[in-house]
């Protein structure tokens, strides 16, 4: 397989096109603008649609429109822009429509900064918008995964008729790495039965809708949707284990911090500390089972994250507080160095060991 060198943001765009996505709507915001720029260049040449919307709100509603017609569609933005999209994401969820939303996170709150962050973890994993719902959350940790999980995001979104969010960070978006691009798929020739494509006077009208004024009906739909979510939790959890066989300290980290942690774990091993890592690839559904299983084997957990402890909370929940969960975090666009992570691993190994 031929490897090409690409920025993470460009890999997302090219992977989406290869996945048969022909509709992209976006609005410029650092550090994801390369996605829009790439789409602007490519889409007109393949009979696709690139449209720079007037706002992130308009962009997500254009996505809603295309999704209702049964076609693959995506938008991308960064944290403050994603906040604006939450209205539309909730409507997509409420109307059971698939779509891919890319969030190349930057520091917040407010205008925050433009450097990498993972502080939209809660926003993404708890359901980015009003009401009871989830989106699939995929957290790439390499440019290769930026491409692969883009394709996966479309597939899962369509399989479960729900929005998927590719939750990357500024580093993943900006860095270049060799990548094997996914195979070319043609856009689906036929729209799914639920799609709004015109009745051709041959069937009753389809309605893409999230309004249900009858409480009983709305309750039923919410419950049914969560039954579907339970299937997702059962079937679609993705994670990667690194040096976990005999690990005493389990690092939990995703995205760029998982990459930093990898270096630190190798150094820790060289010093005789048995460290390993469980790297969640899906953040929702969260890899609760492997973490809970690890809780019986390791002495301590350590989350490494670019937030004030958002993933930390999920790890404590997943392992039911069976073992101490330490944290190594930086925020605002700062990224912990491998040395900082190594120090935290040492601390977790010492104190976590004593707690036994």
């Amino acid at each position: 397989m031929e490897k090409v060198l690409m920025k993470g943001n460009e890999a997302i765009a090219e992977a989406a096109i290869r996945a048969g996505c022909r509709h992209y709507f976006g609005y410029p915001i650092t550090p994801q603008t390369e996605v829009a720029a790439y789409m602007a260049k490519r889409m007109p040449k393949i009979d696709g649609v690139f449209l720079q919307a007037e706002s992130e709100i308009a962009a997500i509603n254009m996505v809603y429109g295309v999704s209702a017609t049964g076609k693959r569609v995506m938008t991308s933005s960064s944290s403050p822009g994603i906040a604006l999209k939450t209205e539309g994401i909730s409507y997509l969820a409420g109307a059971d429509l698939p779509a891919l939303i890319v969030n190349v996170q930057r520091g917040g709150p407010g205008l925050g900064g433009i450097q990498p962050s993972q502080a939209d973890y809660f926003l993404a994993t708890r359901g980015p918008g009003h009401g009871d719902f989830h989106v699939l959350v995929l957290a790439p940790s390499s440019v290769q995964e930026m491409a692969d999980l883009t394709v996966r995001g479309f597939e899962l979104a369509e399989k479960y008729r729900m929005p998927a969010m590719l939750l990357a960070d500024g580093t993943m978006g900006q860095m270049m790495e060799p990548v094997v691009l996914p195979e070319e798929q043609k856009p689906a020739a036929k729209a799914p039965g639920w799609a709004v494509t015109g009745t051709e006077c041959k069937r009753p009208h389809n309605i893409a809708n999230s309004l249900y004024l009858s409480p009983a009906e709305l309750e039923r739909l919410n419950v049914e949707r969560f039954e579907r979510y339970a299937e997702v939790e059962k079937n679609e959890v993705m994670w990667e284990e690194f040096m976990m066989d005999d690990a005493e300290v389990c690092v939990v980290s995703c995205g760029i911090t998982a990459r930093v942690s990898r270096n630190a774990i190798i150094e820790a091993r060289a010093m005789g500390i048995k460290a390993g890592m469980i790297r969640p690839i899906t953040l929702w559904p969260f890899p609760k089972k492997p973490l809970l299983a690890a809780a019986d084997k390791v002495n301590a957990f350590l989350t490494v994250e670019l937030s004030m402890g958002q993933m930390h909370e999920d790890v404590e929940l997943a392992i039911r507080c069976k073992k101490p969960v330490y944290m190594c975090n930086r925020v605002g666009g700062m990224i912990p160095s491998p040395d900082e992570v190594l120090n935290s691993i040492k601390k977790a190994a010492e104190e976590g060991g004593k707690a036994q």
């Binding site: 860095m175 270049m176 491998p338």
Partner: protein, 179 residues
Amino acid sequence: MRENQIIIAGFGGQGLLFSGKVLAYAGLHEGRHLSWLPSYGPEMRGGTANCNVILSDRDVGSPIVTHPDILMVMNTPSLDKYEDEVQPGGSIFIDSSLITRKVRRTDVTAHYIPATQIAVDLGLPTLANMVLLGALVKDTGCIEDESLKASLEQVIPARRANMLELNLKALQAGKDYDA
């Protein structure tokens, strides 16, 4: 195991990210594991700019270089910022036309190349980055000559093909400079 952790830094507009790209594509040509990470944001427009390049025989962990074994700098603030981070035994490549001070550390090798002056003398004032990169590649051997050329062929867009020869000329001038 062979691994180079490289920081290239200076002012925005000096072609530093491009220099890093040339290394990265050369690494790709050699089938090595690699990463290229730029600084980004408004600082690119007139402020400082840097990029991190890792070339390795194994999977690249963190793409962020904290302790480079190779540092290439084209302004004084970058030397000030990164000098102390260089691994003991590492190399620092300095455009001595632009940076007048000397490296303070004694446990690293400093290479002073008047890259900007050489580039101006060649009539290629915008290619000082390539002159310095030539010296870097020659001294560290971090990539092969042949992959450097292959890289340039890939990185320079077809519509600017005339730039290929000029870039190669600047690289050669850096290699030829006897520091």
